[in-house]
Amino acid sequence: MEDLKVDLRNETTQFIIVRLGEEQYGIDIKYVDNIVRMQHITRVPKVQPYLKGVINLRGEVIPVMSIRVKMDLPVDEYTKATRIIILKLEQQGNIGIIVDEVKEVVTLENSQIEKVAYDSKEEKDYYIFAIGKYADGGLISLLDLNAVVLEKESV
């Protein structure tokens, strides 16, 4: 768990800002291997509903999951802006996640990152480990990739 979170001793951390529906989320850039355009996803039968299937990324077969389904958001609508972010995780290997849009890369100082406790009742907050505060006062939710990728424990 620990290694997937931002190491707070570092001075700054870079995040890729993505859009899911109306909200924006930050993904720690060190886990991002690649960002590819939406492409044909081969469905895999008999798997968890949020697993959309597999894609071919330069000869490698990579599973792709939908964060929207996992977070109980309305199902994905693929547009021109839709992207698959390929995450590189130590335990699970490479996994693609579908986002509505990739906005920008921001650099946050550690003092700008505030951890949140898991006391929120709301489902989607389960996947957030911290809130980033922009210098201009804006806020951004930072995704806990471990929670996103791991299979949800049945409640």
Partner: protein, 698 residues
């Protein structure tokens, strides 16, 4: 000296030597007089000791040193091989293996001194004092036979006419004629170069008349560790030997003057060669090592023995150790080449006829990739010998532990399998063998009562069958008691009594593979902990193989393991189900049938067809894969008949798309829930198609 970089090599080689020792000591138990076996053991033990010493593993060195002492006495004939000695030696090997395991894990040999073993070894050593004189008197020939013949190899040199002539002349001129055997250190890398230096040094002193092997062979490094030669010189023998030994990496040089009578014999052929005269007391031996010098052989038998030595020395496989990762990279490259070829194929389909030249190139590319694939696969293939060679030892231990007499017969050890498969197959095989020994074979009394030979037989046969490799473990024991299995299954709640009534014998036998099932009445530490056969099955299925059992009461049981030759690239049939593409391995397909909807009958709520007299269950793939079929249900159906062992099933697909060579890719660690998909492949157009695991559909 920092030796850590050699640790891996050390571990590898030690394993090899230990395996070698295991096998040879087993041989020794069977045939305690075999000089070759004893020499082989001695050599392996000696190298082990040297390696352990170099790496600084003192305890391991001490133990091997004491073992070596015992072997050396055996070789000299002063100790006889006895049952309890073999036991002790095996215990030593186990202890060494333990050291090795600890070294592998921690890089250090641990702190176990194994004092009791060392003590036992020394007792064996001391026992020679009592037994020796009597034996000496009784069997002088054997003593000589066991002697170190290596140093006297020059005696077996044969001379042709010219050489005889030269010898006669040399005698006439009053020159000395010496026979020499030079031994190169085992660690020596450039043996040919060292030998060349020896020859060069000798030429300053005199003339080399003849050498064995020939000079040409020596230059080509076609000799083991020693070579012999006959040398004419005016210098004394001591000087000659000193010169030879001044060449570095020469372990030993032994020689003797060839006496006048001998020369006459050689030159004049007065006496038959089979009886060469003794090398005479003039023999000078020097050895830098601390080892005890073996006594001078009594020449009468020495020659015969060394001939035997040379003939039966096993040819050493010339191998190159290749990092498996490098092979994987090569394999991936080939895979991509095949994908590229496939995309060319699909590109050319679009403009067929207009582009005849492209097709030709494609065909060429196809043959190249196929050949490349085959040769890379071959690099990855290793004989299963590396796994099965440890089994005779295991059966021997089981014989003692279970107090049952049994013999293991193996065949097909040379059968080759993919390296990854060979590494994994050891445990399941060991399990089946243990099972056969423990449950399969009856005790001696029962066997006698049943009119069978008291010693049970276990057979391990491996052979290639088409695209599969089959490994069979067979015993001539009691067979599987179907009723007992049925009762047990019911009492364990695996099946209900009603189910038990309706099941065929074969189905009940297959229950043995069910998790948590063990019929042994007594729990032993050999098998019978109830975790056996289901583990065997899951392991073999993980290798895309299958395991079956057939048994006949009172006659024995046969366990058959079927494994695919290769795991990476297969021939597959591409099919369309509801607009999605799936691949089915060609190896599991029996036939393809066109069926009208009214041919499908329903038996016990299951759809079946009667195909040429055989009733085959029908599986609608669209149902299994959760997808709508795009076909009109009134139309004829395409049914792919697949087999799993003896069983058949018909898979209903929408459309056939053709045969293709596909590269198997894993779905990754993330997708594990889907049992019916064994992997994925990338098609020529870049799309991913899933590979159906037809075995999981049954």
């Amino acid at each position: 000296m920092d030796v850590s970089q050699y640790l891996e090599i050390f571990i590898d080689e030690t394993k090899e030597h230990l395996q070698n020792l295991n096998t040879e000591i087993l041989n020794l138990e069977q045939d305690s007089e075999n000089v070759n076996t004893i020499n082989e053991i001695f050599r392996a033990a000696h190298s082990l000791k040297g390696m352990a010493g170099t790496m600084g593993f003192k305890r391991m060195q001490t133990l091997t040193h004491d073992m070596e002492n015992v072997f050396s006495e055996v070789r000299n004939g002063s100790i006889k091989v006895k049952g309890n000695m073999i036991d002790i030696l095996f215990q030593c090997l186990d202890a060494l293996e333990e050291y090795l395991n600890i070294i592998q894990e921690t890089g250090d040999e641990g702190t176990n001194d194994n004092d009791p073993l060392v003590k036992q070894l020394n007792e064996v050593l001391n026992s020679k004092e009592g037994g020796e004189p009597a034996k000496k008197a009784a069997e002088p020939a054997k003593k000589a036979a066991a002697n170190d013949a290596d140093g006297q190899k020059w005696l077996s040199i044969k001379y042709d006419e010219t050489q005889k002539h030269v010898l006669r002349e040399a005698v006439a001129q009053g020159k000395h004629i010496f026979g020499l055997t030079v031994k190169v250190q085992e660690a020596c890398i450039l043996k040919a170069a060292r030998a060349f230096l020896v020859f060069k040094a000798l030429e300053d002193l005199g003339e080399v008349i003849i050498s064995n092997p020939s000079v040409q062979d020596i230059e080509d490094e076609k000799f083991d560790l020693d070579f012999s030669l006959v040398f004419i010189t005016e210098s004394p023998l001591e000087k000659v030997i000193q010169v030879v030994k001044s060449v570095s990496e020469i372990e030993d040089a032994q020689g003797a003057a060839i006496s006048d009578e001998k020369i006459k014999d050689i030159a004049g052929e007065v006496m038959p060669k089979e009886e060469p005269p003794a090398p005479e007391p003039e023999t000078v031996t020097e050895k830098p090592a601390v080892e005890k010098q073996p006594p001078v052989p009594q020449a009468g038998t020495a020659k015969g023995n060394e001939k035997k030595n040379q003939v039966s020395k096993p040819a050493v496989n010339r191998t190159v150790r290749v990092d498996i990762e490098k092979l994987d990279v090569l394999m991936n490259l080939v895979s991509e080449l095949i994908i590229a070829k496939n995309s060319l194929v699909s590109a050319s389909v679009g403009d067929r006829g207009t582009n005849g030249g492209v097709n030709e190139h494609i065909e060429y590319l196809e043959s190249v990739t196929t050949n490349l694939h085959e040769s890379v696969m071959k690099v990855r293939m290793v004989p299963i010998e590396s796994v099965v060679s440890k089994f005779p030892r295991m059966i021997r231990d089981l014989t003692k532990k279970l107090n049952k007499k049994m013999e293991l017969y193996m065949s097909g050890e040379e059968t080759e399998l993919d390296r990854t498969v060979v590494d994994e197959i050891g445990d399941p095989l060991m399990h089946l063998l243990r099972n056969a020994a423990d449950h399969g074979l009856e005790s001696g009394e029962v066997r006698k009562a049943a009119g069978k030979p008291e010693a049970g037989s276990i057979f391990l046969d491996a052979y290639q069958d088409g695209n599969n490799v089959v490994i069979e473990v067979r015993d001539d024991g009691a067979g599987i008691n179907v009723d007992e299995v049925r009762e047990k299954a019911i009492s364990k709640g695996v099946i209900t009594p009603e189910q038990g009534e309706n099941m065929t014998e074969q189905e009940i036998t297959n229950l043995l593979f069910h998790a948590g099932f063990s019929t042994a009445k007594q729990v032993s530490d050999i098998s019978g902990r109830g975790v056996g056969l289901d583990v065997v099955r899951s392991k073999i299925e993980a290798l895309s193989g299958e395991v079956e059992v057939k048994s006949k009461m009172g006659v024995g049981s046969t366990w058959t393991i079927r494994l695919p030759l290769t795991l990476a690239i297969i021939q597959a049939l591409m099919v369309d189900v509801g607009g999605e593409k799936y691949a089915i391995s060609l190896g599991s397909i029996q036939t393809i049938e066109d069926i009208t909807p009214d041919e499908i009958k329903t038996v016990q709520n299951k759809e079946v067809i009667n195909l040429r007299g055989i009733v085959i269950p029908i599986i609608r793939l669209n149902g299994v894969l959760d997808i709508e079929s795009k076909k009109n249900p009134e139309d004829n159906m395409t049914v792919v008949i697949v087999k799993k062992g003896d069983r058949l099933a018909g898979l209903v697909v929408d459309e056939l798309m053709g045969q293709q060579e596909i590269v198997i890719k894993s779905l990754g660690r993330y997708i594990t829930k889907c049992k019916i998909i064994s992997g994925a492949t990338i098609l020529g157009d870049g799309e991913v198609a899933l590979i159906l695991d037809t075995n999981a559909l049954f």
